[in-house]
């Protein structure tokens, strides 16, 4: 049971329940698609989900901007410069992530 087979089996069995449950929920949602009450409920649930996401975003921003209880000025300057650059040049997000990571290594963002 050890080794790669273990890894593969464990990962697949972790995702199977998700797929089954989401398929069932999807079918049910499709059935009630035109129902006014369901539509209204979903509208308000979306707001709550948005608030949820917003809070985890704030905690992620906090994690990047604050290091050892100090403001991480390197990261802040990088974010500002990068957002100005992104308005002018369009780059794909995969390239952007690796580019930013290499900049992070070069300028030692964690110190």
């Amino acid at each position: 049971m050890k080794g790669y087979y273990g890894a593969i089996i464990a990962t697949i069995s972790f995702i199977i329940p998700s797929i089954i449950i989401m398929t069932i929920i999807n079918k049910i949602l499709d059935k009630f698609k035109d129902n006014q009450k369901v539509e209204k409920t979903l509208k308000y649930i979306r707001v709550i989900a948005f608030a949820n996401i917003l809070i985890s975003c704030i905690s992620i921003i906090e994690r990047a901007f604050i290091i050892n209880n100090n403001m991480n000025f390197k990261v802040i300057v990088f974010v500002i410069l990068m957002s100005i650059l992104l308005k002018k040049v369009k780059i794909s997000s995969i390239f952007g992530i690796f580019f930013a990571g290499i900049i992070g290594i070069l300028f030692k963002f964690c110190e």
Partner: protein, 151 residues
């Protein structure tokens, strides 16, 4: 839409998975809504909502819901498998030299850099979603109450 194409699209999304569901919102938005037009914004918000409610990992639920929307149950299978494909291989590779990997300063610097790029995308898509979900007074009131409870 072929199943292998779904696998390919979601495997590209899987490489960009840094952080949690929130950091994936801008990436999904860019790739699935703006570029390929496979889903609508409302569907994305629904999938994140339902993914968080359901049992299991939130991001896996979200991805299988999206796959379902695109191409039924087989779409869900291929989307989820595609999404975990590269992270799986990367983790297997890392397991060879796990000792000292997470403590490595170089790796920490890399992820801080990558995260700071994600922040730009996150802020953009948060503004987008705020415009879309906060449409009238009722939604504003619910939003503020939820924020107060969660903070």
């Amino acid at each position: 839409m072929k199943l292998l194409e779904i696998f390919y699209i979601f495997s590209l999304l899987g490489i960009q998975m840094i952080g949690n569901v929130a950091t994936m919102v801008p990436v999904f938005e860019k790739e699935l809504i703006n570029k390929r037009k496979l889903i609508t914004k409302n569907e994305l918000l629904d999938s994140i909502t339902i993914g968080r409610c359901g049992p299991g990992a939130a991001i896996i639920n979200t991805v299988s819901f999206l796959g379902n929307r695109i191409h039924g149950i087989l779409g869900a299978v291929f989307a989820t498998l595609g999404f975990i494909f590269f992270p799986f291989i990367i983790i297997i590779l890392i397991s060879f030299f796990i000792n000292g990997f997470l403590e490595s300063v170089v790796i920490k610097n890399f992820f801080t850099g990558a995260l700071s790029f994600m922040i730009i995308l996150i802020i953009k898509s948060m503004i987008d979603f705020a415009k879309m979900s906060l449409t009238d007074r009722n939604t504003m009131v619910i939003f503020i109450i939820t924020l107060i409870i969660l903070l």
